[in-house]
Symmetry: C2
Subunit: 270 residues, 2 copies
Amino acid sequence: MITSTSNAKVKRLVNLRKKRRARDAEGVFLTEGLRMFQEVQESELKELYVTERFYEKEKKLVDEKCRAGRCGIEVFSETVMEYVSDTRHPQGVLCVVRQRNGDGWEGILEGRKSGKAASCPLILLLDNLQDPGNLGTIFRTGEAAGVTGILMSRDCVDVYNPKVIRSTMGSIFRLPFWYAEDLPAAVREMKAQGICTYAARLNGTCVYDEPDYRKPSAFFIGNEGNGLREDIAELADCYLKIPMAGSVESLNAAIAAAVLMFEAVRQRRH
Amino acid sequence: MITSTSNAKVKRLVNLRKKRRARDAEGVFLTEGLRMFQEVQESELKELYVTERFYEKEKKLVDEKCRAGRCGIEVFSETVMEYVSDTRHPQGVLCVVRQRNGDGWEGILEGRKSGKAASCPLILLLDNLQDPGNLGTIFRTGEAAGVTGILMSRDCVDVYNPKVIRSTMGSIFRLPFWYAEDLPAAVREMKAQGICTYAARLNGTCVYDEPDYRKPSAFFIGNEGNGLREDIAELADCYLKIPMAGSVESLNAAIAAAVLMFEAVRQRRH
């Protein structure tokens, strides 16, 4: 059992939690809690850290998963677990999970990694989204709405940030995503494949429930403060607006994404 | 200028930031930042604290507002402002604002405090909502969607919590709300007034876009982990479900509220 916070393994984990560069260098990320532990596929699980209390409670699950994934178990004292953890009251289980390097163009066109392929692409494009909670919520909402994948600019917040991971509630493992090195090029490719592109903009001219989203569609969502960058927005076929009452200047990015996605799904259901 | 964090005024402000009881005892709450300062009505502004830098930059605005509101100005050093503030990089302005004691039944039925009365009630009922970010986002989204008011159980997170205030983006000043001492009684009153009541539930039977929300309507949203309590849910006329793809167990509370509210608004626009 590791009981000292100055242990080298502990220091490495804290580094992985805090720094995108450290995560990318090792090609891993961290997940915490029972729920996420249950969601991790054995093939993606690299290392497992538990408290004694957690191990005693979930021995069967832990042993099975580690045997299947051929991954070792290390026991942390409660103090060390709290030190490493991103949450105030950790549940006593922390996984080091292999990153997947994005699912590429095919992935986000075709939908869920497991289960049946989507019949019609529904893509969410995120340009310079910065808030981890927003990104995580967008993953969770996107999976629920049935989007086929999420395309992101390189400068979006890291999908492997612990706060993003936590707020995806597991969708990170299931919803295809892709960081495009050249986002305008990816958008041009998208359009060449016959996907209609819709930019959510405050100066939009088309009310969001007017277009026909039963065709292959992509929604563009911009940065929380500044919206979409011009070079991306100008590639869109249509500027959407979500009519707003009151004196509200804009909707939260995750809320705007949800309203658009669920309108598309509503149309596809009818 | 106050430069010491052990100053009694500073301690009181920290207390007001941290404790609901302290806020309720004085009947006030705190807002931070230029944007919120601009939104506060003079009659609601009780005290103002600024850094020298902020004062120099916004002298005209500050002087006008304080003269109109007959409220004094106190200058804080940057260090003291950071100490008092809820944010890491405070903008240099902090207001002590009078609480309004909720807007009562009339308020949430009739809509915005200023501007034209809503033609048809659209109410959001929140039962034991606990996440400050969710509550703030629901206020912001609710104003944008044009709901007439928000009805809350007494044990919802405090609307005057600094995180709630910040994420309302000013909607807290504009959208009527009411904490009901007896929520079931309030629901019965609502129904007696001819308002159709819809509970968002995972076991809902009615797809959320089927009912006619052009009639007076109320949506019930429950706690993040546990959903609606039985005694509230069973009073609803109809259990709504939002169809979900993938393996998502539930939507975030603010997202679910947004999907329902914007469906109601969509119907009312057509």
